[in-house]
């Protein structure tokens, strides 16, 4: 086994981001303004999939379908209820 050569000394290094655009938004200075997001099928489906992970079910009890959204169609796209494990053979 040959001994490895010692690592070279560090070269002078500057960590820099001066050329990278930075956008700073805040709800305190008016650069960010409140709005009321409406449910879309995509946003609701995403929320349902996330909810299953933490609460075991895609929708809270009594959740009413937002106007124009087919809740049954979305439920078919959520991995729920969990599939029971199959017996080994």
């Amino acid at each position: 086994m040959t001994p490895s050569a010692p690592a070279p000394e560090f070269g002078e290094t500057v960590f820099d981001s001066a050329d990278v655009p930075l956008i700073e938004l805040s709800d305190a200075d008016g650069t960010l303004v409140p709005f009321e997001p409406a449910w879309t099928p995509a946003t609701l489906l995403h929320a349902m999939r996330e909810r299953v992970r933490y609460y075991g079910a895609p929708l809270p009890e009594g959740f009413a379908a937002p106007p124009g959204i087919d809740l049954d169609a979305l439920l078919k796209q959520v991995p729920w209820p969990p599939t029971p494990p199959t017996a080994g053979g």
């Binding site: 981001s17 938004l25 709005f35 997001p37 995403h46 996330e50």
Partner: protein
Amino acid sequence: MPVTPSVRGLYLCERVELGPGTRNLTPRNCFRALRIAGLPTRAKPFTVVAYLANGIGQFPVAVVVRRLDTLGEVYAARAMLTFADRLAEVRLTIRVEQCVFPAAGEYEVALWVGHELLAQTPFTVKHLETTT
């Protein structure tokens, strides 16, 4: 033709520091949970940091905080941003000062550009027990 940017990372932190000269961004106190006294109440300000790339055009960029138990939205704000150079990465910091949390539980911060969900990250809100 507008092209929606992609996201390279989404982080939650207490605040960011900007290096003088280098303009390096340093997120401070990146967190996965907020412990808050006196719920429901407004949390101390926190910052959402995102790195966006490959976008060109003008888009509404929105941050939405949603409660995952009720699916209720607790915060939503947006701004119109212009991406001028498809090759440039854009660093975005969003300072949230007006978010009121109604209860302990699981929440999600989502970053939307136009109608597209770019990234989301969950976090937990817990009661902070205070001694009086």
